[in-house]
């Protein structure tokens, strides 16, 4: 069974600074997908970024980027120029293959951006 570990229950950072959230996972699969989701106080789950394991290039989406280290089974999220609206719970998630496979979530990191 796959497991996803987020070792930072809470983090805080000053507005405009850069913050990195860590995630590690355990799997015997070679091809898989990794995701970061943002859950603001409204509790909606918003997809932030996605990484395909067979792609060596790290995914980026505007201020959000990942550092994907396949051998280390690490998938960290970097938020640059952090904004107050980035305050939320962040969940890392793993999916073994496309189709018919469930997402497994980590326990989340509560990120607070301090004005």
């Amino acid at each position: 069974a796959q497991t996803v570990t987020q070792s930072q229950p809470e983090m805080s950072v000053q507005e405009a600074e850069t913050v990195t959230l860590s995630c590690t996972y355990d799997t015997s699969e070679n091809n898989y997908y990794l995701f970061w989701y943002k859950q603001p106080p409204s509790r909606q789950m918003i997809l932030v970024i996605r990484q395909e394991a067979y792609k060596q290039q790290n995914a980026t989406e505007n201020r959000f980027s990942v550092n994907f280290q396949k051998a280390a089974k690490s998938f960290s999220l970097k938020i640059s120029d952090s904004q107050l609206g980035d305050t939320a719970m962040y969940f890392c998630a793993f999916m073994p293959n496309f189709g018919n496979e469930k997402l497994t979530f980590g326990t989340g990191t509560r990120l607070t951006i301090i004005p």
Partner: protein
């Protein structure tokens, strides 16, 4: 941008009553899921649905739960005889060929 839509946003029900949570997935998506999140806790998988049948279910998804896609668009989760511990946020999700799992805004279920 296409989105997953869930109704209602909040449901309060008496213990022992049946509830139906509704979801309209993104139209060209193929795989559908229900997850739940008890307040402050982890997001837990309940069930996945593909080609009009359940493909996988968790140990949480016991006989009190059922899912169906009655008309090719709606995707429902039925909870029979609700218990206090069923109080949670329930999320519907769908995945298409781009392998981006989109979630609905959730239904907050409160069992009293």
């Amino acid at each position: 941008e296409p989105e997953v839509t869930q109704t209602p946003s909040h449901q309060v029900t008496q213990m022992g009553q049946e509830v139906i949570l509704r979801c309209v997935p993104i139209s060209n998506h193929l795989y559908f899921y229900w997850y739940r999140q008890i307040l402050g806790q982890k997001v837990e998988f309940l069930v996945s649905f593909y080609n009009n049948e359940i493909s996988e279910k968790s140990e949480i998804f016991d006989d009190q739960f059922s899912v169906e896609r009655p008309d090719g668009s709606n995707f429902t989760l039925k909870i029979r005889s609700t218990k206090l511990e069923d109080s949670a946020m329930y999320f519907c999700a769908s995945i298409g060929r781009e392998v981006e799992a989109f979630f609905g805004q959730g239904t907050r279920l409160t069992v009293v």
